[in-house]
């Protein structure tokens, strides 16, 4: 089963589910948002390339990123940590120092949690946040003619991961993008301040093309982007040319950049700071079989579900 098939199975079994929706769940009774992400050792991280401190930070950051895409600020988290019963005291100390530091930086309280033993380290964090916008975001809100805007640089995190796992030299910026991602909360606040309707938005945790395909599929609109408009870090070019790698593969398919992607009307895009937001394409007509067109100079690649299933950073594709 790939991830899409598993989600279908789940959706068919749950009578009250909004599971197949977005990365954050809206709890209508209290007008709050909740998100829940789990990182598993040797699937999402390895202790050979990160530190307990950075693992603590990243575990929180990935949840703050989901809330940022929902135009929310986290207020509380709960931390469930599973770890081998013979783990060193220093691991626990440094892990919670990382948790504490990032929580203090973003005004988040650790409200509770759970401790259990397990063979591998598993960090499961649930974050509860409040809306900072009058409007909602959802993958399904893309509209014909919307500008597709993204924040930040793309491809850095996956190139950093590749360097770490293949023992290659890479600049600090690529390594940091992977080990210590910064959730786009500033950009989320700016976006909140200019929109005047619900918009399609999500983060690029599973890669840029994956996010575009998910929005396209949820909103039943095809999309077109120009891959050469996507900003990337100069260190990515250096790293790729030195190691004879294709930078565009990292930019298109690499996960964990934790940038925002949003579809907004043109007049809204014009109000956005062009240092922080880049328009990379537009939303096309409604379609019963939506896909993503990726222009690269003269060539256009048509991205369909099959290609996404094969290429994306999905833990169920093997």
């Amino acid at each position: 089963m790939n991830e899409f098939e598993i989600l279908d199975v789940i959706n068919n079994r749950l009578s009250s589910s909004e599971f197949l929706g977005d990365d954050c769940a809206f709890l209508e009774d209290w007008n709050i948002f909740v998100t829940h992400d789990t990182l598993v050792e040797d699937v999402h991280f390895t202790m050979h390339t990160t530190s307990p401190y950075l693992l603590g930070r990243k575990s929180v950051a990935v949840n703050l990123s989901d809330l940022a895409a929902a135009l929310c600020e986290a207020k509380y988290i709960t931390v469930s940590l599973s770890m081998p019963s013979d783990i060193k005291k220093s691991f626990v100390e440094e892990f919670y120092e990382g948790i504490n530091d990032i929580c203090n930086e973003y005004g988040v309280k650790v409200a509770g949690g759970d401790l259990t033993s397990s063979e591998k380290i598993v960090v499961s964090i649930c974050a509860v946040g409040k809306k900072i916008s009058l409007y909602r975001t959802s993958r399904k809100f893309a509209k014909n003619g919307d500008c597709i805007v993204i924040t930040g640089m793309h491809g850095s995190s996956s190139a950093g991961l590749y360097a770490l796992s293949e023992f290659l030299y890479a600049g600090e910026s690529l390594i940091n993008s992977h080990l210590n991602p910064v959730p786009a909360l500033k950009e989320s606040r700016i976006l909140s301040s200019v929109i005047d309707s619900n918009i399609a938005a999500m983060d690029t945790s599973d890669g840029l093309i994956d996010a575009l395909y998910k929005i396209s599929s949820a909103s039943n609109h095809s999309m077109e982007i120009d891959i050469n408009k996507v900003p990337f870090h100069p260190e990515l070019s250096l790293f790729c040319s030195y190691n004879k790698l294709d930078a565009k593969q990292f930019i298109k398919w690499g996960g964990e950049d934790y940038q925002l992607i949003a579809c907004v009307p043109k007049n809204i895009y014009e109000k956005l700071d062009k240092e922080l937001f880049t328009c990379i394409g537009k939303v096309l007509n409604k379609s019963t079989n939506p896909c993503v067109f990726v222009k690269d100079g003269e060539n256009t690649e048509k991205i369909t579900k099959d290609i996404v299933c094969r290429k994306t950073f999905s833990h169920f594709n093997n």
Copy 2:
């Protein structure tokens, strides 16, 4: 490190933590409660003795039990499921059928979640609930002279687990207590309807004596119970006498009965239905070195922190 030492380390690292408190965290901004529990394959369960359906049910039940002890009703859960990438479709179907059934029984919505791969199955559930009482519960609220009341039967679940893991015959009631526990929500509602102040309460997920020691330690009051007043199922006696086991060990130290334990003034206890609630002892004087006295006929056992660390179902004691 044992669990107490780990919690000390965490508490020292977190500036905003209420981590060391109770099983549910109170989110004051919204007047709601949140709890987060993780079940790990081959630590908390094994697929040799349970089914995907019952695993789904139990994963939710343990969180509802925590909310019940906080005098709350769950409204939403998020489900994070980690599982081997080659898992069968039927596992996912039956697991979510279990989740769906128990959620429908208790009026809970599945609001979202997360899917990742991992070697072992890990289920992490976060439940959000609302208060059904004007008053709060906490381990630290025990007061001198309070009656110690418990719901239900004790020792059944751990005896059921022992039977399953040692391939012994045991009655259905013991096996069901372990595989399909029923959270004490009815009893929580009754308790809510009669109290007129904050009370000490928690569930017995880690065993009766463990819960008593935790309340005693958090509230700095010693306690005294009569072990012969604790209700247990007739099948527990049969099982233990047939297999030459000591039933009292299961009653005292066995985990996962998911019953409520509360310390309430005598006049409140008198209002409670004696079919559902049993008074097993009383809260003693304040003490800087609190402990639990367990009377058994002529003998009294003094339970200290050392004994609890050695005896309880703690995943970090090995």
